[in-house]
């Protein structure tokens, strides 16, 4: 008897399961592996499935190094995600390869996108279409070590506001041993880290130039302004001697170890720096120039819908994308991952702006720019080499800049669709 009841129960259970399966639409979401991002997405999926019981979302992740290749290979194999995460800088490649479909305007009207999101979302627009929406964005700020500031007689509550103050503070905090070896750097110098973004989008503009024109398809920094900006950067090591490229291997490692008083880095570094125990650190906006000109570099991962998704899966994907770019999702993302909300209203709350850590990053977002890379790795490498030619080979700033500009133009031209 008991067996029969159990059996009946099982049958009933299976049948409801089967019924659910018949009704439910399953969509697949892809992103790369990064512990907090995966956790945040798990939570978002749970919330979404609760609100939409007829949709299930399956999250698949890959190591960052493989991620692009996987997405592209999956397209060739004819089976990929319905909704996928992508770096804004990959968009050209993904659109050219037919991986993404334009966001349907019924669910994502352009005027709404442009009114609600930060202007950098325009990097997801090609022609008249948007191809993705970010949940969170990242910007740069100046991290400083309060302990080293105090030791050098600086006020830790009053970090540098201008480039001159930045250099002065760095000079005061730099320490060398008797034979002149650097022991504490005033500031990290790491072109391979975030300094190339700082140079490109911030310093070049602050010295009166423009990094690119023509939608970032023409290199425009080979000017006097660009030269001044590059000289300012390389002089930090060569003349002011407040740091050294390669010191402690990486800028962020030097700062973490308490061996650099300042470093320029992004929101994504907050997680790693939060575990620092040896000293207190603070964050402030990137220094302005003498005329008060500020700039910043923002970047983001966006979510887009696969070109092959259609029918009820497309409807489900639209709902899911709407949810993961909603203010609620952005709040979850900020709390779990530490990245800034991509919607102005969700980001610029009084609480966020008053936050000593998020505040400076959010202020930076207001005037941030986004470089439209064609090949981020190659363009970054080019800027690293430009600085290294001056630092290691003694090439003149003017020549190195001219060589770098020509090389970067060649990279951009090579990537242009033929």
């Amino acid at each position: 008897m008991r067996k029969a009841t159990l059996f009946a129960g099982l049958i009933a259970g299976f049948s409801t399961l089967a019924l659910n399966a018949a009704q439910a639409v399953e969509i697949e979401y892809w992103q790369y592996v990064f512990d907090t991002r995966v956790k945040a997405m798990d939570q978002l999926i749970e919330n979404f499935e609760k609100a939409n019981p007829d949709i299930t979302v399956k999250q698949t992740t890959f190591p960052y190094a493989d991620y692009q290749t996987r997405v592209i290979a999956a397209k060739m194999g004819g089976q990929g995600p319905d909704v996928m995460q992508l770096f804004y800088g990959w968009l050209d490649k993904f659109v050219a390869g037919g991986l993404l479909q334009p966001l349907p305007t019924d669910a994502f009207p352009h005027d709404k996108i442009e009114a609600d999101f930060f202007p950098i979302v325009s990097a997801m627009k090609r022609g008249d279409d948007y191809y993705g929406l970010p949940t969170a964005v990242r910007s740069l700020a100046l991290f400083y070590n309060k302990k080293l500031f105090t030791e050098a007689g600086l006020d830790p509550a009053n970090p540098p506001k201008t480039l001159d103050e930045f250099v002065a503070a760095a000079e005061k905090t730099t320490k060398r041993d008797a034979s002149g070896n650097l022991i504490v750097a005033g500031s990290t110098l790491d072109m391979g880290g975030q300094d190339h973004q700082w140079w490109r989008e911030v310093l070049v503009r602050q010295f009166g130039g423009e990094p690119y024109t023509d939608n970032d398809r023409k290199v425009a920094y080979n000017t006097e302004a660009g030269e001044k900006a590059l000289k300012f950067y390389t002089d930090l090591q060569l003349e002011k001697k407040i740091g050294q490229a390669g010191f402690m291997d990486e800028g962020q490692a030097a700062f973490r170890a308490g061996m650099a008083a300042m470093t320029i880095d992004g929101t994504f570094r907050l997680g790693a720096f939060k575990s620092i125990e040896g000293f207190e650190w603070g964050v402030t906006e990137l220094p302005a120039n003498a005329d008060g000109v500020r700039s910043n570099y923002a970047s983001y991962f966006a979510n887009g819908i696969s070109a092959t998704t259609s029918g009820e899966k497309l409807e489900a994907s639209k709902k899911f994308l709407t949810y993961i770019s909603s203010p609620e999702a952005m709040d979850v993302w900020l709390k779990t991952v530490g990245e800034l909300p991509a919607r102005r209203a969700a980001a610029m709350t009084d609480a966020n702006l008053a936050d000593p850590i998020y505040g400076p990053f959010l202020k930076g977002l207001e005037y941030a720019r986004t470089t439209m890379f064609v090949d981020e790795a190659a363009q970054r490498q080019n800027t690293i080499d430009m600085a290294n030619r001056i630092l290691l080979e003694g090439q003149s700033v003017k020549d190195s800049l001219a060589q770098g500009a020509a090389a970067e133009q060649a990279i951009i031209d090579a990537a242009a669709p033929k």
Partner: protein, 314 residues
């Protein structure tokens, strides 16, 4: 049901009784041998030869993973040979080969030669030499990367500092970076070469040495007339093996320079790293395939040349 299917399958695959029985024992054995050999041959064709041939074809296309490959003739090769970066990388690759191989072979022979005579803690010393070979290249490269840092943390610079030698930039210098990385690569491969050399030394019959000593030959003459000639097969193997290793060097370079792969200013970049970057960071698969073909050709020529130079003279 599956049982009957199996039986039927077996029956069908077994050659016709009379036909099979009429074959000679020799033929039967050959068929058996080849049916076993076919497996690895098939396996190799699928995972080795087919991709190799495919790479030759891809090198003539502009494949970027997204669009179907289009035939573009020799454009990739023209681009490659006109690229100054390629020639720099080419030079680096040969620097690894031409400096790395002789030094590592000489070192490992000297060590093996002497280790062969050591009885005291022989096993332990041999183990210590072999240990780096067992260590993951990535882990080792990272340790060395920190060794090479400037003074407060870099062990080597600290040591130099205490004896009054100025700081060296090592991997932060365009001149010193390649030798610095080469040292770690040589060190990593040393253990393996020592073991092979020792095995070679042990296989030379003792009677030869005894006869030579009775004839009054000095140690140097014994080494030149007996040890080295009889060690030739071992040497040939190690020369080819280590050359291929240096031509394909990647792990050490990549892991010691991840911030600026192959840098500074491309001064340490070997061909394999260039191929990796072209393929998996710029996604220019056709161009990367052309570089692979060039590497393949170099490997082939170098190996054939070495085998020819070191051939048995009849």
């Amino acid at each position: 049901m599956s049982v009957t299917a199996d039986r039927q399958g077996a029956a069908a695959s077994r050659p016709d009784g009379t036909f099979w029985n009429r074959r000679s024992m020799r033929t039967k054995r050959l068929v058996w041998v080849w049916s076993f050999l076919a497996l690895p041959i098939l396996f190799y064709s699928v995972i080795r030869f087919y991709p190799t041939i495919e790479a030759f074809w891809l090198s003539l296309t502009n494949w970027d993973l997204l669009k179907p490959p289009q035939f573009i003739g020799f454009a990739n090769y023209e681009k490659l040979f006109a690229d100054p970066q390629f020639w720099k990388v080419f030079k680096n690759t040969f620097a690894y080969l031409l400096v790395g191989t002789p030094i590592s072979l000489l070192l490992s022979f000297v060590i093996a030669y002497h280790l062969d005579r050591v009885r005291f803690m022989h096993g332990l010393i041999r183990g210590l030499y072999f240990l780096p070979y067992l260590t993951t290249a990535a882990a080792m490269a990272w340790v060395w990367r920190w060794f090479y840092q400037p003074a407060p943390i870099g062990v080597i610079n600290n040591a130099l500092g205490t004896i009054g030698i100025p700081q060296q930039p090592f991997i932060r210098s365009v001149d010193q970076a390649l030798p610095s990385i080469m040292v770690t690569a040589i060190w990593a491969g040393l253990g393996f070469q020592i073991i092979i050399f020792m095995a070679g030394l042990r296989s030379i019959p003792n009677t030869f040495y005894e006869a030579a000593r009775i004839d009054g030959l000095g140690e140097w003459a014994i080494l030149r007339k007996i040890t080295l000639p009889l060690l030739k097969p071992t040497t040939v193997f190690l020369v080819v093996f280590s050359s291929i290793g240096f031509l394909r060097i990647f792990d050490q370079v990549y892991n010691m320079t991840t911030n600026d792969p192959g840098g500074p200013l491309g001064s340490t970049k070997p061909l394999v790293l260039m191929i990796y970057q072209t393929a998996f960071s710029s996604y220019a698969m056709g161009y990367a395939a052309a570089q692979t073909v060039v590497l393949f050709t170099i490997l082939l020529c170098v190996s054939l040349l070495q085998l020819w130079i070191l051939r048995e003279k009849k």
